[in-house]
């Protein structure tokens, strides 16, 4: 086959004559390869630099590859709902938790039920497990309740309640407020609950055992009832103004409540129904306030989505912006319209999240437009995590963290090792195959694969901290198949070039003519892959979504690499004599490829019996 090499020089010159006119036309198209190559090199250097600068030099690995943390959550029985822990609710809870910890499907967290009342959440190593615990454990029951009365407690407390005049008989029913008046008594102040159980750690603002243990029985007679108001049990959701027994009880509870006490605060709102008035605590500007709140006017199910944003108008802290559904927007407009007519503090509404008032803005006019903000004293992370849980809805049950433990990789270490060796051997075989088949063109082929591999690796490493991307075994395998797709792009291109050379063109026009056709093929086929990735990413959840992300990423990278690296490099190399002259090791030897003789009109006599064929037969 290689016999034709000695004769290469003579027909080559003739080829050039034939193709000469084309060269001028394509010169402009060829003028920019250096720019593209520089661009992609800068991109690689910048991304790699970013990777080292961020300190995350390896991609986050999934549980199957690196192990992680396993959190066991136990569903809590809530008063008044003995049958709440059932399969339906548990499954719903699993779904919601899955979305919270794996919103984009790339974080490789796993959520499953265990037994009848437990949920196990496995998160890969390198995840902030405390944050994850809050994310899954937060019930995220959100209510907008009109404020009936509020006052600060604890440090900055006033001795006299500042309830509004319209509130029913505040001072009459319970003349002795709980020991909330004195400053500095936060942890050890008389507490309403002698039994420190059942506290909803699910709120994320955890009650420590130590504090619970410190709690001492209070001297307030009404205090023991405060944990679980019995008002809902009476079955009559009565407005606060009627002054019914249930209501008085609540009033008593409100008066007794000391929000500076962690134990009391934690259970202040437990068990209250959205349709009933309730008491709750909230920390506003570092001071604990207690609230007497009316029935929920709008609740979390009315929230369409939520996102964290920096408060541009106010103090400039982080806040959570919510968009209501159309029904929610209407309800919200109604209630704010009513509230706006009231006096302070009854023109306020409390935004109650899991029993705690996170914010109680006042309204001066009806708020229409279906948007609301929660502006507490959030850090960026808190705001984002709250927006996240609000977007995916409230858990149907509240959960308590039972245990947190580390787990090792599900895929044994030696297996991973064997897999890596096998993968490396496979890749070495690919390189050998490309060398044997494409010879000199491997200078394009192998670096193309390399560039693609570097970009994939660096981007995956950077996505770890950015969007919790974690690489699991299926993703690794997907990346291996991506080798095939990346390789296919330059194989299509190379084969086009070779076809052009076989038609009798010299290399440079052949490259320029082959490229538009190869480009179309690459784009059309990559579009199908990208379509698959986009649809699956948008529609699905969990691991399928994670797969779609990887597929989309590798597809985009394939296009980037072939446009900005393979093609320009090929253009540059086509100017080298080694390739342009069709050296027999270049992989573009016209003889070896069986190119047609140059003069078309006289082809017939020369054609089948020409100098090319005999040595090929």
């Amino acid at each position: 086959m290689a016999a034709g090499a000695t004769r290469a020089a003579r027909p080559e010159r003739e080829y050039e004559k034939v193709a000469a006119p084309k060269r001028g036309r394509s010169a402009s198209a060829q003028s920019k390869p250096g720019r593209s190559l520089a661009l992609i090199l800068i991109a690689i250097v910048a991304l790699t630099g970013g990777m080292f600068a961020s300190g995350h030099t390896t991609p986050r690995l999934g549980i199957d590859l690196a192990g992680g943390t396993s959190i066991t959550l136990q569903a809590q029985n809530e008063p008044g709902q003995p049958n709440a822990i059932n399969k339906t609710n548990m499954d719903t809870a699993v779904e919601i938790m899955n979305r919270r910890v794996n919103g984009l499907g790339v974080s490789e967290a796993e959520v499953q039920t265990q037994g009848t009342s437990n949920i196990v959440v496995n998160i890969p190593k390198g995840t902030n497990s405390e944050e994850a615990r809050q994310q899954v454990g937060t019930t995220a029951k959100l209510y907008f309740r009109p404020v009936l009365a509020s006052e600060p407690t604890g440090k900055a407390a006033q001795p006299t309640p500042s309830t509004s005049p319209s509130s029913s008989g505040t001072s009459g029913s319970t003349p002795t407020p709980s020991g909330s008046a004195t400053a500095g008594q936060k942890a050890t102040s008389p507490s309403g609950s002698p039994t420190p159980t059942d506290s909803a750690t699910s709120q994320g603002r955890a009650v420590t055992d130590a504090l619970k243990a410190d709690a001492t029985p209070s001297g307030t007679p009404t205090a023991p009832a405060s944990g679980t108001p019995k008002a809902p049990a009476s079955g009559t959701p009565t407005p606060p103004a009627t002054g019914s027994a249930a209501d008085q009880k609540l009033q008593a509870q409100y008066t007794a409540l000391d929000c500076s006490d962690d134990a009391q605060r934690a259970k202040a709102d437990t068990g209250s129904k959205p349709g009933d008035p309730s008491v709750a605590c909230g920390k506003i500007s570092g001071v604990w306030y207690k609230y007497l709140l009316g029935p929920a006017a709008v609740d979390g199910t009315d929230v369409k989505n939520a996102q964290a944003a920096i408060d541009t108008q106010g103090a400039g802290g982080w806040q959570v912006q919510m968009n209501f559904t159309s029904a929610g927007a209407k309800k919200f407009a109604d209630v704010t319209g009513k509230l706006a007519q009231n006096q302070q503090p009854q023109n306020e509404f409390g935004i109650v999240l899991d029993g705690e008032v996170v914010s109680s803005p006042f309204v001066s006019q009806a708020i229409t437009g279906g948007q609301a903000q929660i502006s507490g004293s959030f850090s960026q992370q808190e705001a984002q995590s709250l927006a996240n849980v609000l977007s995916y809805g409230a858990l149907p049950l509240s959960f308590k963290v039972q245990s947190m433990t580390t787990v090792t990789a599900a895929l044994g270490g030696e297996q991973l090792h064997a897999g890596l060796i096998a993968g490396a051997i496979g890749l070495a075989l690919v390189v050998i195959y490309l060398l044997v088949f494409y010879r000199g063109l491997s200078i394009v082929a192998i670096p193309s694969l390399l560039v693609s591999a570097i970009l994939t690796y660096v981007i995956m490493a950077l996505l770890g901290p950015a969007i919790h991307f974690a690489l699991n075994l299926p993703a690794v395998c997907g990346a291996i198949v991506a080798i095939g797709i990346t390789a296919d792009s330059f194989i299509v291109f190379f084969e086009r070039i070779r076809d052009e050379i076989r038609e009798g063109r010299t290399l440079r026009p052949a490259v320029e003519r082959a490229w538009p056709r190869a480009r179309r093929t690459i784009l059309v086929s990559d579009f199908v892959s990208f379509l698959a990735a986009a649809v699956l990413f948008i529609v699905t959840v969990g691991k399928v979504q994670g797969f779609a992300f990887t597929l989309g990423l590798t597809t985009v990278l394939d296009v980037v690499v072939v446009f900005l690296f393979t093609k320009p490099l090929m253009t540059v190399l086509a100017r080298r004599r080694f390739f342009a002259d069709g050296h027999k090791w270049s992989g573009l030897d016209p003889k070896g490829l069986g190119a047609k003789p140059p003069l078309r009109r006289t082809r017939r006599p020369a054609g089948p019996a020409g100098p090319v064929d005999p040595k090929e037969a």
């Binding site: 075994l473 529609v539 959840v541």
Partner: protein, 367 residues
């Protein structure tokens, strides 16, 4: 230049070609046979769903000196299923086994305790639900359905509906074969398997589209000539992209083969098998179906079109004429004067190269 490069040249010139389209009945037959085997395999043996899909039991042991790989072995012996074993922070082990009910899990617990020399009471056994729950599965199906519809629309616009149909048939063919072989081999279906199948889905379509793109390009001006039928050109197109198909398939299969045969076979990385097998079978089926199933199917569908029927008739007539008397080529334009005369004249005159190559091809086919 390697033999394949040489082969590429001869394929390019049409000196040699395999009659993929002409022998389509054979390959349809082969594919139908494999597909039926796969379906029977699926029906009879069913898929062995892993713990992520059907749930199972999880056993948590206290601190133990038994290693993870030992525990894997014990669990497998006790349950007859593959087990996932993880070491916990406490020093204990978490062993997950698929397909367990309460009675089975109790028996397994006793067995495990005996093997690991632990008190059965100290091992906590719990049934776990699937981590790949119904929601993930349902959404995945929904996503697939939407994708299929969109891709058919896209292919119908970018190419034509016949190609969209053929691509879809090839896709279903590939997926059926892959799942069927999975059922026959009896590997446990893990999320990795499903991801592997989805990868196949993408790759199968990708490969088909690359082949179709060349087919579309070559058949662009098909009605302007009377030398070749659609099937002839489809065949030339396959042969023209054959080197690309072989190269791409080899490059895609080599790393997967490395994982499957070296990693899974020689080095004993058992869990890699499930993914690499589905990828290996799927990639091979994807490459095969693009050439042997999808393109001939397009040819079949196209040949049913009146326009193409007329073309085939003209081509046959011309060939008969050429065979009857080796007249001068000049009589040819007159023979199809009933239709498309100018184009028929222009075609050969403008493309002497194709005429010459064309002369080689039909005779090559008849060989």
């Amino acid at each position: 230049m390697s033999k394949l490069g040489n082969l590429g040249a001869r394929l390019h010139r049409g000196e040699i070609s395999y009659d993929f389209v002409g022998r389509r009945k054979l390959w349809y037959g082969v594919s139908i046979l494999i597909t039926i085997t796969a379906i029977v395999g699926l029906a009879v043996r069913g898929l062995n769903m892993g713990i992520d899909f059907q749930g199972g039991a999880v056993f948590t042991t206290p601190k133990t000196s038994v290693s993870v790989s030992q525990a894997e072995k014990f669990a497998q012996d006790a349950a007859g299923h593959e087990a996932v074993v993880q070491k916990l922070g406490s020093g204990g082990l978490r062993i997950q086994i698929a397909g367990m009910d309460t009675t089975k899990s109790d028996a397994t617990k006793v067995e495990l305790a005996k093997d690991m020399k632990l008190d059965p009471e100290s091992i906590a056994a719990d049934l776990v639900g699937p981590s790949w729950g119904d929601e993930i599965a349902n959404k995945a199906w929904e996503g697939l359905a939407i994708f299929m519809v969109l891709v058919v629309i896209y292919l119908a616009i970018a190419f034509e509906w016949r190609m969209a149909v053929a691509a879809l048939v090839a896709l279903i063919h590939d997926i059926t074969i892959t799942t069927g072989i999975y059922a026959l081999v009896g590997f446990e279906v893990t999320p990795g398997t499903v991801i592997g199948l989805l990868t196949i889905l993408g790759y199968s379509l990708y490969d088909t589209v690359v082949v179709f793109d060349s087919l579309k390009e070559q058949t662009k001006d098909i009605t302007k000539q009377t030398r070749f039928t659609y099937s002839d050109i489809a065949n030339q197109s396959i042969n023209g992209t054959l080197v690309r198909s072989i190269n791409t398939t080899v490059v895609a299969l080599l790393p997967v083969a490395g994982l499957l045969f070296i990693g899974g076979g020689l080095l004993g990385a058992g869990t890699l098998n499930d993914i690499s097998l589905s990828l290996f079978v799927g990639l091979a089926a994807g490459a095969y179906s693009s050439i042997f199933i999808a393109t001939p199917l397009v040819a079949d569908l196209k040949e049913a079109e009146p326009q193409m029927k007329a073309l085939a008739k003209r081509v046959r007539a011309k060939r008969a004429q050429a065979a009857a008397g080796e007249d001068t080529p000049r009589t040819r334009p007159e023979s199809d004067d009933h239709d498309d005369v100018p184009a028929a004249v222009v075609g050969p005159r403008d493309q002497p190269a194709s005429r010459n190559r064309g002369r080689g091809r039909p005779s090559g086919k008849r060989r």
